[in-house]
Chain length 209, copies 2
């Protein structure tokens, strides 16, 4: 049990949590690795292998306790209540700020930052839009560990420079730029455009046959 944990395992863990949440809502008490196949596109032995990196959570002959495993996985993934800020009060920034579902992953959006005079000082729901100039100080005083970046892609590097200067640990990146950052900062990119291009490729292939 002293192996390094594969990247792909980390990608799947949150999906397992989602499935367990869903089953829990449906009052399901036990789940087997085979049952997961209905809810997620992975083979049962991959689930068992993934879990084995972290411990033994199952009961042989029976499966896994839904609430028990959910709690374990939440602990493993560090789902302990996080706060963040959003940079860019545009289309995506507003959509995220208005989103109610972040409660489920215990995420609180503290503030949104922008450089547009017309937006600064306003509120999105109950969340204030603040001046980007005050971001560094805010991040430090409020101990923000990671940010969500939703500014135009052309501005990405500019914002990243400011973030490198602060002691942020992570960036969720909605821009289509590759961010060059020191390795103490973890970048996770959500790239809608490239996902849609993948779809184009599959459409083309399906037309061909």
């Amino acid at each position: 049990m002293k192996m390094t944990i594969p990247e792909s395992t980390i990608h799947r863990m949150p999906q397992y949590i989602k499935v367990l949440e869903y089953l829990d809502e449906g009052k399901v008490l036990f789940v087997t690795s085979r049952d997961f196949e209905t809810h997620i596109d992975v083979n049962p032995s991959i689930i068992r292998k993934d879990l084995s990196y972290f411990g033994e959570f199952g009961v042989r002959g029976k499966g896994y306790s839904v609430t028990g495993l959910k709690q374990e996985l939440e602990k493993i993934m560090g789902l302990t209540g996080h706060r963040t800020i959003i940079i860019g009060a545009g289309n995506i920034g507003k959509a995220l700020t208005n989103y109610k579902g972040f409660d489920n992953i215990k995420l609180k959006i503290n503030a949104v930052f922008d450089n547009d005079e017309r937006k600064i000082g306003s509120m999105i729901n109950t969340i204030p839009v603040l001046d980007i100039k005050t971001m560094k100080a805010y991040v430090e005083s409020e101990n923000i560990e990671f940010v969500i970046m939703a500014v135009p892609s052309s501005i990405a590097d500019l914002v990243v420079d400011q973030l490198i200067d602060s002691d942020i640990k992570g960036i969720i990146n909605f821009t289509s730029k590759f961010l060059s950052v020191p390795k103490r900062i973890k970048v996770i990119s959500i790239n809608i455009d490239t996902k849609i291009m993948e779809m184009f490729y599959f459409l083309k292939k399906s037309r061909m046959k």
Copy 2:
């Protein structure tokens, strides 16, 4: 050159296109596989291997023509002008509908569908919000190949049933549900929540050391 193309290659192809667009804007004429390392997190030989699945596009000793390669890759990925509809005129649906950048990937959003009486009949920018009841007919008459689904996760299966009934080929899925569809339909999921949970894990790890 008759091998099957790895999934991971398909994930990277759109990223190469993005880099080439960026270089092209900067009037760069030639690019080597090594140059890509500045803009994307992959090793040069992977780029060469990826491209080799589709043909030979480089000039030995020189590199790749930026505009030439861009055009080739756009052709390979089927970037030929697509139309789509968005299902759900909520936070994400509106953000996508308002997004100008889809021009770059030659994507046109034809219409948005919703079941909320207050939204049906209105416009988002120049794009009409139509009644979900008319979706199937619309998809067929307008020959829509894929849809973008941005309804509440609890409604996902309901909408999927209607889509299976139509002759849609693909779904870009923003809900957190795993969609069970016949294999003629390609599902590509963009799961913001699970990406953020991955970030939590890395934050936890970085706190530990």
